[in-house]
């Protein structure tokens, strides 16, 4: 067995992991990032929509290599066909750019490497090194060889699977109603509007979730679905609903599938703590996904930056490991916890709505002027249109 020593070992090479590695390395930390697959970024498990705010949040240049398309906004469409539009800056974490996630993830890994982080691909963390009540690194396998990787701080950025965060003892297990399961086709020959992402909501389309059409270029789009696990039955429920949706659409008629992806997202609240002595979880592994949209790229990358910067200050001697982890816990929550809590409540409400209620809701929201869109404005409009429906949302205020 080979032994390696680092300040920080990051398990997982997605946006959250790369962001931790990049900012920790920039701060002077000796960092190693592990990716279990032979290539960072592939296969894609994502709808590939992200808000443009990601650029300033993690200091990115908008590059044609990873940006497939830029959209003006999102359309939310109800079962009856009523809809409302949101401009991209109001549309949350998944609208703005449609990205090429494989190239995007690799780009972020390169930014980490440029700052000096080491990266090992095709490397699986098999277990945690636990000593004296602390986590002190991981055991890993790389091309048939065992490695003992010792680190002051171990970071779980292992995505939805979250094996590492759960093995460490964080409460990141999920209830059925807090999981959406997804499948997506990249389709060619699509006649959808290339300027808008489309979200189809309602039990008939996607029980507890939505169908999305994210245009990647003039004729190409990601067409996918997320279904709440609570409503799923044995045997490929999301796929069945997606096939039904595609068959019903003129704009998808004759379109060919060039890629198929599966995956799942947590639509839960994050646990009360995402840190332990010598250990932190980040991104999907820490259940930081937006429970309303299912978007996790921006939150993961932002939390990764907060953690990476704190770890940089740790190696500069400004913070102890305990203080750095406490600063991370406080910092990421300040940036997104209120939004996560609000959107979790919204997701819980939407899970209960019938298609008729969803029609009423979308119609009411559609009647609001765009610039006035806020939770309060939505509630007011719903109250005027459908007092009984407004009752259901009253605890939002």
């Amino acid at each position: 067995m080979k032994t390696l020593k680092y300040d920080v070992v990051v398990v997982g090479g997605g946006p959250a992991g790369s962001s931790v590695a990049r900012y920790a390395a920039r701060g002077g930390a000796k960092v190693l990032m592990l990716e279990k697959r032979q290539e960072v970024g592939s296969p894609v498990r994502c709808g590939e929509g992200v808000s443009k705010k990601i650029l300033q949040k993690i200091e990115l240049e908008p590059l044609e290599s990873w940006i497939a398309n830029e959209v003006a906004g999102a359309k939310i469409i109800s079962p009856s066909g009523s809809q409302f539009e949101l401009s991209e800056d109001l549309a949350g974490s998944e609208t703005g750019y449609i990205i090429r996630r494989d190239i995007f993830d690799k780009h972020l890994a390169k930014l980490a490497a440029v700052e000096g982080a080491d990266i090992m691909v095709k490397t699986t963390a098999t277990s945690l090194i636990k000593e004296d009540g602390k986590i002190k690194g991981v055991l890993a396998r790389h091309l048939g060889e065992e490695y003992r990787i010792e680190a002051t701080v171990t970071v779980a950025a292992d995505g939805f699977e979250a094996r590492l965060s759960r093995e460490a003892g964080l409460k990141t297990s999920l209830k059925l109603r807090d999981v959406d399961i997804c499948i997506q086709y990249e389709m060619v020959g699509v006649k959808a509007d290339p300027l808008y992402t489309e979200f189809y909501v309602g039990q008939g389309y996607a029980p507890g979730g939505y169908v999305w059409i994210f245009p990647k270029s003039e004729r190409v789009a990601n067409v996918g679905i997320g279904v709440n696990l609570m409503f799923s039955e044995r045997g490929a429920t999301p796929r069945r609903y997606l096939e039904k949706f595609i068959a019903s659409r003129e704009d998808l008629k004759g379109a060919k599938i060039v890629e198929i992806n599966g995956g799942a997202v947590s639509v839960s609240m994050p646990p009360e703590s995402v840190t332990l002595p010598g250990f932190a979880a980040v991104g999907d592994s820490a259940r930081m996904i937006d429970p309303l949209t299912g978007g996790g790229v921006v939150n993961g990358a932002v939390a990764g930056r907060v953690l990476g910067e704190a770890l940089g200050r740790m190696v500069q001697g400004k913070l102890s490991p305990e203080e750095a982890l406490a600063e991370y816990e406080k910092g990421w929550r300040k940036k997104m916890e209120v939004q996560l809590a609000r959107n979790y409540l919204a997701k819980e409400k939407l899970l209960e709505l019938t298609d008729e209620e969803m029609n009423d809701l979308i119609e009411a929201v559609g009647s609001i002027k765009l610039e006035g869109l806020s939770t309060a404005a939505i509630l007011k409009a719903v109250k005027e249109a459908k007092p009984s429906l407004a009752e259901k949302f009253s605890d939002f205020l």
């Binding site: 279990k36 697959r37 032979q38 296969p43 498990r45 095709k122 699986t124 995505g159 939805f160 699977e161 979250a162 094996r163 759960r166 093995e167 297990s173 999920l174 059925l176 999981v179 399961i181 997804c182 499948i183 696990l229 799923s232 039955e233 044995r234 045997g235 490929a236 999301p238 796929r239 198929i260 992806n261 599966g262 995956g263 799942a264 947590s266």
Partner: protein, 60 residues
Amino acid sequence: MIRVDKEKCLWCGTCVGVCPTLALTLKETYVEVDHERCTLCGICVRACPVGAITMEGVEK
């Protein structure tokens, strides 16, 4: 016993993330089942987006 159909599996890790006993591991291009840890709860069977997981020899 849980069985993962390698021909249907998309290696997406959904089953791994929903398994309450950490009995499943995604090894890049296949899912490994730890039958000692598996309690046959069936959540992975429900969760698999393409229906690649079945339970054999148990009526639930």
